[in-house]
Amino acid sequence: MKNVIEVKKITKKYGEFKALDNLQFNVEEGEIVGLLGPNGSGKSTSINCMLSLLKFDKGSIKIFDKEMTPESYETKSKIGVIFQDVAVFEELKVYENIDYFCGLYIKDKHVREEYVEEAIKLVGLNEFKNHLPKQLSGGLLRRLNIACGIAHKPSLIFLDEPTVAVDPQSRNNILEGIKKLNKSGATIIYTTHYMEEVEQLCDRILIIDKGKIIANGTKEELKGIIDIAEKVTVEFEELEKDYIDKIKKQRNVLDIDSKNNTFKISYKKGKNNLVNLINFLSDEKIKYNKIYSELPTLNDVFLELTGKELRD
């Protein structure tokens, strides 16, 4: 596969503060790449640098094999951007807004008409074509924001947290839309701090923290790099003090997180962890209300890599 984006050792400083610190990664054609990190980790900054909106101090960025500059119009024509905040003209109607921004890319009127209609369909704003932005709800506005960014059929799309503060229905609509765009051949870079979205959507995930890529791979790969392979939650009827020590001695147990009557037990990779635990509990005649097993999430990955939660 061909690399669509090559980011090489980018450093961006705000005074003494390093917003990006030797950031380096590639994006291949046709991928959906998730850029996952907590607020302030450098996701938006890295996107703005790639779009050459922001200056950076060191490093280089190539998009479609070409150095990215503010004058790279040919490259820019293949890019679509959806910003974190809604950026539309208050005075223009839905259709007009999409047509205006699309018109910055596509000169042919008829082609544009077709494209704008398609974009409206894609985000599901058919009924609202002639509405002004202020007449739209937050979720619909987001959809309009997306339509403005992708109407010109870009082959590389940047989405900067497009689902922040969006209702579930609109969120699903947006995620479906992104999948469709990907299927029709677009490479997608997606930043978010919602790990569920990334897990659901992305082929590959870059975890970013303090301006650095701290992990890079498919979700399976990422989960493979941490020790935790399984998490079992037990809610006891009555709790006795020696439970922790006893359970800790079991095979594969890494760590126990206890809260009131509930234990969260992390296991290393191994077979029959849950079965072993249930057997152990019945042998010991320990009564419990609930017991269930989970696979580790990206949050666990993040927690283990950085020592903090994704969502603060």
Partner: protein
Amino acid sequence: MFKHIFNYQFKTLVRSKEMWFWSLIFPLVLATFFNLAFSNMSSGTSFSSVNIAVVNNEEFQQENHFKELIEQLSQDNDDKIFNVKYIDEKEAQDLLKNNEISGYIIVQDNINLVFKNVGFNQTIVKSVVDSYYQTMSVMKNVYKHNPEAIKDGVLELLGEKHNFLKDTSNNDVDVMVSYFYALIAMVCLYGANFSVFMVSQSEANLSKKGARTSVAPTHKFKVIAASLLIALIIHYLEVLLLLAYLTFVLGINFGNQIIPILILTFFGCIAGSTLGIIVSYTNRKKEEVKIAITMSIIMFLSFLSGLMIFNIKYLVAQHVPILGYINPATMISDALYSLYYYETYEQFIFNVVSLIIFSVIMIIISYMFMRRKKYDSI
């Protein structure tokens, strides 16, 4: 592409009702106020009678001619100059202290005028009394030289005031019109606000819309040029409406110089627009701060060109003439003045060329800043 941006920016601006409505309404209302405030002033002669007191002592009673004059001037008719109270000195002093009269007259060896301060009213009083003295003196001199002439009625000539002066000032330009010139100049410069508004829509560090525009494969210059052009056109239309209002509704006479005035205000609008551009590009503050800076600059330039106090313009011309040459508001108001006042177009052309030079310099400086296309922070 240019047309596409142009069309949509036009829609945007036309639909920003608040924006153009207030920028249009404000000068019209202000012009109406001006007209109201100066309508009486420009007639010049209207003044209310001056309150004075005359100390009613024996000496006054003996000055028959003077007594007659005062009585004549305080008769209730159109020429009434004085409201006179005949009282004693003590009372007169009290009235003066309490500002109920502008001054009082006390006849002793001589006719004395007692004032507390010197102003318009006092000057009228003094001028009347002086003319009485001089008339008396004239009578004495004539009598001494040729007593016969008095019989021939020479002295009656004293009553008739012949005008030996012929005013050849080209037109009766009055202060009022100058205020309107300054107003037009200010309104032209107001276009700066439109520029600030338009630029912030297309600059990535100023608005999200700007960021979206910046990632598009269109030269940013094209987008900005189209937006500014549309802003300029709408602003110019507003200025034309103001001119129409001034001429047809308020009846202000700008002379028969329609085409030069249209040319001038057009370049005035351009100068205003470029002023906004330079404010937009030379600082990286929020839009509110930019508007505050723009408004302050416009008001300052207008102030120096005599909008609030006409005299300021002269003071500037006398003490810091350079300020007059670089101030677009002065250029516009000077040019309007010269169209009305001078027979030649030299001053007018000089001012229009100055406006063009001003605009070009603003654009060059702005362009130098504009070329920074990446931002340190968004």
